[in-house]
């Protein structure tokens, strides 16, 4: 099933904080009709209570998301930050993550969430995949890498 789309990749997002980053990246999902108008606020609220930052061997990321009731069509929006943005860590809210990339997920089917997360963990722990994400210099390249690894 396709998760990544050409209108859901963005480079050089300049965000002051995690909320700003979520609002900017979430706007792509909203403008494309993938999510409802309640999605962005719901993601911001969830991120405050249950942060989604992760520190992997080769990259620090965040995977903001929320419940399926705010989603129209499942997708993953892939964003590279101009400067790392501080998120809380998913496993420990006191640990800060300097997220270089956001993988903002619109998940409709709860059963699919586990599979999507599991798949993405495999990607982020794959040094070759991470190197390709980091090397992508245009939105076209970023889309191609995202589509290749995430679907």
């Amino acid at each position: 099933m396709q998760s990544c789309y050409e209108d859901l990749v963005i480079l050089d997002v300049e965000a002051e904080n995690y909320e700003d980053a979520i609002r900017q990246v979430g706007a792509l999902l909203y403008n494309g009709g993938y999510v409802k108008d309640t999605y962005i606020d719901a993601v911001v609220e969830r991120e405050a209570d249950f942060p989604t930052g992760l520190i992997l061997q080769d990259i620090e990321i965040a995977m903001p998301h929320t419940a399926g009731i705010h989603v129209n069509k499942p997708a993953v929006c892939v964003a590279k930050m101009k400067h790392p943005v501080e998120f809380g860590h998913m496993g420990d809210p006191d640990t800060k993550v300097k997220a270089e990339m956001l993988f903002m997920m619109a998940i409709l089917d709860p059963d699919a969430q586990i599979e999507t997360l599991q798949n993405m963990m495999g990607v982020f722990q794959n040094s070759q995949a991470v190197a390709e994400f980091k090397a992508a210099k245009t939105e076209k390249e970023l889309f191609e890498v995202a589509h290749k690894y995430i679907g």
Binding site: F50, M90, G91, Q113, L117, M121, Q125
Partner: protein, 87 residues
Amino acid sequence: MYSKKVTVQNKTGIHARPASMVVRMCNQYKEQEIHFIGNGRDTNPKNIISVLSAGLSKGTEIEVQVIGENEETVCNEIVAFIESLTD
């Protein structure tokens, strides 16, 4: 080592939010070594990446293994916590 089996019951499985809760809980037991055996994997429940990589969906049977002080009590608490997940 004390171990007990538990089946994931909440409809969305141990995805992001429940996974965070499980990891936070298991990290309170600093002195104990804990394993989740299930889905053909040995998962470290103190590590979020390990938990998210395990794909612990509804219906997955997990053997919770605890090694260390008060291992039976700790194991029962973890099992009860997994059973209490409703999200």
